[in-house]
């Protein structure tokens, strides 16, 4: 089973390598340390949010409200940062808490009222954005203090803080997914909800956790967003949910639930980031960008199905069976 999972990521990794190779042949500027660093730095928010989205998609949920959540949390973080006397900790708390509250709201509606995730988050997407714009009346938050914006380009031991935060997020998410009962429950719930609840998993709690965790990561992203741009537009993050979902999906997570890996999602993020960077670097007319990105998305998901359809089915059966065993022993 692990081999299969690795193989899936291997295919995507090779795709990333091929794309990178093509770009670097045409544009020598691509394969320079500074360019590679800027690709990473420009996609940190995408990567952090893709970690949360992977867990949400593994539970067979989806969250299309994350773009609105990002804007919402970013504006609040910005407003708090402007209050005299606030510091990095107040900003951190406000960002993460507002993210968790929004995510939890989604989770409660999905788990409590059994309304499908896509419907709930379609609704809250409009509610979050609408109330934010109503509250700010469309006004930007500008002139953020230097102690806050310097967060983005300060390095600790030579590593920029955003990258450290990303590594921490990856570490924590990996730990939750692979080494805790909660993580096993998340995969089991997505694999087969009926069996999951029969073996004693509190499916409602697991769902709520996944969405709240997504919210928390969105909150962290919102802090970086403000620090990176120094001004925050209440329309920040519009349509960003599609980028996040695309990255996770390119990375091989199954929207029907039960499978998806953090490594895969990170590769997905890199593919999108490299493409956006590469199209400018290769001096291709920008009109072509959507055609290329669309084709890669389609190819990725199609290849995946062609290669793995039968194996996936078999894997799922084995996986559920294992979960039953694992659950039984809990």
């Amino acid at each position: 089973m692990n081999d299969l999972l690795k193989k899936r990521e291997f295919v995507m990794f090779m795709m990333l390598m091929v794309i990178s190779l093509c770009i670097s042949l045409i544009a020598p500027a691509f394969l320079t340390p500074s360019n590679l660093l800027s690709i990473v730095m420009n996609n940190i928010i995408l990567a952090i949010m893709a970690m949360g989205m992977t867990l949400v998609i593994v539970t067979s949920g989806i969250d299309v409200s994350v773009g609105s959540q990002l804007g919402f949390a970013a504006i609040f973080v910005g407003l708090v940062a402007l209050i005299p006397g606030s510091n990095i900790f107040t900003v951190l708390v406000v960002g993460v808490v507002s993210g968790i509250v929004l995510g939890l709201l989604n989770g409660i509606l999905i788990a409590g009222a059994e309304i499908p995730a896509i419907v709930v988050t379609l609704g809250t997407m409009n509610i979050f954005r609408g109330s934010l714009l109503l509250y700010t009346n469309g006004k930007w938050v500008t002139a953020l203090p230097a102690w806050y914006t310097s967060l983005y380009n300060t390095s600790v031991m030579g590593i920029p803080i955003p990258i450290i935060i990303l590594l921490l997020v990856i570490g924590v998410t990996h730990f939750i997914a692979q080494h805790t009962r909660l993580g096993r429950s998340i995969y089991a719930l997505g694999g087969n909800p009926a069996i999951a609840s029969r073996v004693g998993i509190n499916t409602g709690m697991v769902t709520m956790f996944a969405f709240a965790y997504m919210g928390a990561l969105t909150g962290i992203s919102s802090i970086l967003y403000g620090a990176q741009l120094a001004t925050i537009d209440p329309n920040a993050g519009t349509s960003f949910e599609l980028m996040v979902i695309s990255a996770v999906v390119i990375g091989g997570a199954n929207v029907l639930g039960g499978s998806g890996s953090l490594l895969g999602s990170l590769i997905g993020v890199l593919i999108l980031g490299v493409l956006q960077n590469g199209i400018i670097l290769m001096r291709i007319e920008p009109y072509w960008q959507n055609v290329v990105v669309g084709l890669i998305l389609i190819t990725a998901v199609t290849l995946d199905v062609v290669n793995n359809r039968k194996k996936e089915e078999r894997k799922k059966v084995i996986y559920v069976a294992e979960e039953v065993k694992a659950g039984g022993s809990i």
Partner: protein, 340 residues
């Protein structure tokens, strides 16, 4: 029993909705739906998109005069800069029987039919900021012409990069029609006056700051000889300036563009951007409302007429167009005298 509860729930929701609408409408217009009953003239201003500092400042300018003239002022528009949504809103305002309609068209052709309908219904129709077709409106309040603006920005680019070298354009989105017209004039000006300057590419920023930031970084990487960037939207220029600051290429890459002074203040001061061009947006709103009053009173504007607080404006009778004047450059020196 169950049905009763359902109905109660619905009523509660309706009540909440009612409160919500009541609260938000009371703030801008207590008796907004005139239905033609009050004798106070109703003037509606429809921006390209709500929640943009540019249009909001414009509306504030207009609102002040409207109060002076004793007009009821309505300000509403689409939440995304979308032509189809804007047409819906115009239609609703026609049904509401406003007296004057002032529209910044998302697309010249798109709003024309709706505006013609408004004219047929006896509404005075004006456009501001971005025009519709001339036969669809009574008057166009133009801040400046796309030609003047495009050539002006190109001149700014040339001035900053010193008459030769490569520059790139960061546009709002590939489908924004006003941007495409400005770009056309920029290219003409360049071909005519600056043969040694080359435009390397036009990169879209999708009206998204983060995208503008990333695109700027990509541009700097992709074109090592790049000397200047022209960022053509109020969202793109701050994003580009922030990227220039972070990349530490202040002074190496010159940045000009179109943006509000508040959005660009910090960058103009730090040197990450050399200039931001726009016009006095509040005055544009003032002028629009002043001309609305002229139309209501049945007067025709004249060329060179003197408008209070705005000054002399040009009037082109053949196109029924008022031109406010030359664009205004915000720089390190003068940015603190503006607040929008």
């Amino acid at each position: 029993m169950k049905a009763k509860k359902t109905v109660t729930m619905l009523l509660v929701f309706m009540f909440v909705a009612l409160l919500l609408t009541g609260c938000s409408s009371s703030s801008n217009a207590p008796k907004a739906d005139s239905g033609g009953k009050t004798d106070k003239k109703v003037v509606a201003m429809v921006p390209k998109v709500m929640g943009s500092p540019y249009f909001d400042t414009c509306a504030e300018g207009a609102k002040k005069v409207a109060a002076e003239f004793g007009f009821e002022f309505l300000y509403t528009g689409p939440t995304t800069a979308d032509a189809a949504q804007q047409v819906n809103i115009i239609q609703d305002l026609i049904n509401k029987k406003v007296d004057v309609l002032i529209v910044a068209a998302n697309d010249a052709q798109s709003v024309a039919p709706a505006l013609k309908k408004a004219k047929a219904a006896g509404i005075k129709v004006m456009t501001y900021d971005a025009d519709s077709t001339p036969d669809a409106r009574d008057l166009f309040i133009n801040q400046t012409t796309p030609e003047i603006l495009g050539r002006h920005i190109m001149d700014n680019v040339a001035k900053e990069i010193g008459g030769s070298g490569e520059y790139a354009i960061l546009t709002a989105s590939l489908t924004a029609s006003n941007q495409n017209v400005w770009i056309k004039w920029m290219k003409e000006q360049q071909a005519a006056k600056y043969p040694n300057i080359t435009l390397v590419t036009i990169a879209p920023s999708e009206e998204d700051q983060q995208k503008a930031f990333a695109q700027t970084q990509n541009l700097v990487k992709a074109y090592p000889n790049l000397k200047g960037i022209a960022a053509l939207s109020t969202v793109a220029e701050p994003g580009a300036a922030q990227a220039i600051e972070q990349l530490n290429v202040i002074g190496k890459i010159k940045l000009v563009g179109l943006a509000t002074p508040n959005g660009m203040r910090q960058y103009l001061k730090s040197g990450a951007a050399q200039s931001a061009t726009l016009w006095d947006v509040g005055k544009l709103g003032y002028l629009s409302m002043y001309m609305a009053k002229q139309l209501i009173d049945g007067k025709t504007p004249t060329d060179g007429m003197d408008v209070p607080t705005v000054g002399k404006v040009a009037y082109k009778a053949d196109n029924k167009e008022i031109i406010m004047g030359e664009p205004l450059d915000f720089t390190k020196e003068n940015v603190d005298t503006f607040n929008f």
